[in-house]
Amino acid sequence: MLSVERRAFVKSTAIAAATAAAAGSARTWALPILEEPQSGSGLRWEKAPCRFCGTGCHVMVGTENGRVVAIQGDQKAEVNKGLLCVKGYHVGLALYGKDRLTTPMLRTNGVLKPITWDEAIDVISKRILGNPAGFSFYGSGQWTIPEGYAANKFVKAGMGNNQIDANPRLCMASAVTGFLSTFGVDEPPGVYDDIDKCDVAIMWGNNMAEMHPVLFSRLVDRRTRGEKVTIIDMTTRRTRTSDLADHVLLFKPHGDLAIANGIAHLLMKDNAFDHAFVEKHCNFRTLGPPKDEKSPPEMLGVPMTMDAYREAVKDYTPEVVEKLSGVSADHIRMLGALFARKDIKINSFWCMGMNQHTRGTAINCLVHGIHLLSGHFGKPGEAATSLTGQPSACGTAREVGTLCHLLPGGLAIANPQHRAHAEEHWNLAQGRISDKPGYHAVELFKRFNTPTDQGGDVTTIWVQVTNPGHTMPNLTRNFREKSKLADKFLIVSDVYPTATTELADLILPSAMWVEKNGMYGNSERRTHQWFKMVEPPGAARDDCWQTIAVSKRLAELDPTSQRDKDGVWIFKTTDVEGKEIPVWEWAHYYDRNVDERLFNEYRLFSTHKHKNLAPYAEYVKARGLRWPVVEQPDGSWRETRWRFSGFDDPFVEKGRDFQFYHSVSRDDKALIWFRPHEHPPEMPDAEFPFWLCTGRVLEHWHSGTMTRRIPPLHRAMPKAYVEMHRDDAQTMGVRSGDIITVRSRRGAVDLPAWIGGRGNPKQGEVFVPFFDEQVLINLVTLDAYDPYSKQPDYKKCAVQLTRKG
């Protein structure tokens, strides 16, 4: 950056930083300590997973006099071996922002007024009973496993409908449909050990250095130990990951589909695919014709022959791919040659780049496909690994099934047998579990923001642990219309005021992280457990308790609600002597470990899809365990690292090298998909000539409600900005720090320009981080979504830029 520009940018961000520094209270600083915790230091140390990202690092939490005062990377944790990222080191401060919500508040005549918990529970219960079909839960990949399980049971067993969805719809849904389409069952076959073992790491639109920083350290640290690991960064903009990559392949938005097909074409053309592996373990698949004009073809497709597949990918010659993707034909050949090699171990990684994609299912399938086709699969260092954004997107949303089409344990609403399993585990009358899926996130909020007499049949939403008022795409349409609709009612459980609580009718103060017991599940199928260490502030209470308390009130008010077929309340909890504990009363909620009670019930679901979980007590002892966790003859519990691989997965029949035991084609084979390249739904044109990509930054976690209240993180990254290419800036006469209006067909925001800063987009593209609540970039983004995963694309839409003043 030129020095003049640098100064202007620093100046434009300095005042905000100064304000944050002034706001930070002296007593709220956790002091991360680098030495072993000393006994007798007066601190009590306990383990917990980090509150923030899907990496799932473990921290040691030091408490004193009822406060978290110190954080340390946990040396005993396999994931991070004592290392943390900048967010993790400061995670303790997330509890101590000055404006924690501490009392329930009801909006009366436009003004929020404190009410008691008892009143709040009454308001919710009456609202639900007034129109049960119009009620929906909207949860989160930051829900703990028991919280998600309770909400899921509340809706699917307790209400007999499926009106619950969660924000992993916005972040992981395409990875799920990719795994389901390919293996017939969700979640990655590989684990983080692959990071230590691979020779080549390919990032598919994945800025791992900022988004999964500890995993990136784990990868690049190998170089300092003298190991050779080649990093290939395929990306639409240069990032901090590119800085440490051996090859940076810049591609056009949506070009990833062409690249993957180009690799497949070369493997087929050169006969360089793994014949033995493909023959023994794979089938080819393509989409069938659409059912009718309105709906897309069936997700699970129809079989195709290898010849037909070869024919289908034939069009994707390196030259054609160069045209479609912008990556040179030589680089495509390099990738093809790499996958053709048998002497190296290749691991692909992706996150939001491939998931927040209107062709998300397709690109996920294609990347699995080239790994299967080339045989770079199922050995240490050879996997296609999707990384999750949230700490428990896997553990809670995907495994507990807090989505509108799922049941716990990977079971599906659409499957009658699965519904019967759930009815059995929950002791429900046959047919109690509805076969009608609820609304997925975007549809849910669309309906909530549509007048009730015009098809807006969702009238009440209860949001827990997430911030849709900040993170839904196209916010004006999908969140803010609600303020004009008097009969809609928004309930929000949260810890701080957010863009969502701004429009809430009822706000419930929640306990967070180590203020409650919890369990999370990270990106590598690892289930973590922690205990409550400090009290929540004021009247803040566990989300799980909130759900249970409302369930109890509903059961009291309506004999058909929240009960099993014998009329027993679905959350009935007893002590060791079998006497009921009134867990719906806050004073008795911790009389028994409700997490343990719920988890041990939930784990019964986990065996159907071979996602076996150990009893709660095993997780207390461990720094997380990776499922399937299976009991051994000696009574110990063994975790699994490589799924479907005979040498490690206990569910593969003896003597077989691989077995895809949930195979879509029911013959123990995985599917190699053909999916064509297609253009995105909105592309730059004369009026809106730039691509807009949105995403995260290292220092902030998602919508910034926690990290922006942590002074060191806020000072390090005080404000959102728009990154542009130097040449575009020059053409527009823009310098760093100048204010730019970024406008799409849906909305506009003003941001300072940052040129030559942390990331460098290509010409014709801009990038805006979404963490900053002062500048809601989701007023601008597009709400088009993948037809299968229903996940919206936050990475591509068309915008115009104008310089202000």
């Binding site: 030129l2 620093v10 100046k11 930083a17 600083w29 991360p32 990222c85 350290s217 220092e699």
Partner: protein
């Protein structure tokens, strides 16, 4: 903003954890001053004359304090004795952002801040044992926010400060998010007259 230079809250906890103090210059100064009573080494605004002349000629008029657009300049507290009331920068609270037009210099009537003098307030150093990037965690904040071209470069993800370009403005110190600040900021010891 308080007129007393800011003392790191981490110092409050220092005893308990036995870790080193923050690299905040006024703090170090106070301990130096207590024994031999030499001239205090203060982190002066840009373009400052040599310290004895500064103390003699500065009228404590506060014009620079008021001119600074980011409120980086504050009055030294009474514990700085003869320097009390003179302008200093406490970078850990708010650093100098190296304005091109340097309004603090323009408004200085006694000319203890001068446009013709080097704007070198001090020098920053990376403490590699505390710097996140040097201890295996991704971080590039200091180099991104440094207002001086070439003063901080990043090699294989790790920052290096080049003393010949560094002006000691303290932006890096103030934005460093490491749990133990990764920047040591030393005020210029001997300034030219």
């Amino acid at each position: 903003m308080s007129s007393e230079p800011h003392i790191s809250r981490r110092d409050l906890l220092r005893g308990r954890f036995g870790r080193g103090a923050d690299a905040v210059s006024p703090d170090r100064t106070s301990s130096l001053a207590s024994s031999a009573r030499p001239l205090p080494v203060l982190h002066r605004p840009p373009g400052a004359v040599e310290e004895a002349a500064f103390l003699r000629e500065c009228t404590r008029c506060d014009a620079c304090v008021e001119a600074c657009p980011v409120h980086a300049i504050v009055r030294a507290g009474t514990r700085f004795r003869e320097a009390a009331g003179t302008p200093v920068i406490d970078a850990s609270t708010q650093p100098c952002v190296m304005c091109k037009d340097a309004p603090c210099i323009t408004v200085c009537i006694p000319r203890v801040l001068r446009a013709e003098l080097p704007r070198r307030m001090g020098t920053a150093r990376i403490q590699i044992e505390s710097c996140l990037a040097h201890t295996r965690t991704t971080c590039t904040v200091c180099s991104e926010r440094c207002p001086v071209e070439g003063a901080i470069t990043v090699e294989r993800g790790r920052p290096t400060i080049h003393a010949e370009h560094c002006t000691g403005c303290g932006v890096c110190l103030s934005v460093c998010p490491a749990p133990q600040n990764g920047v040591l900021l030393l005020p210029t010891l001997a300034r030219s007259a």
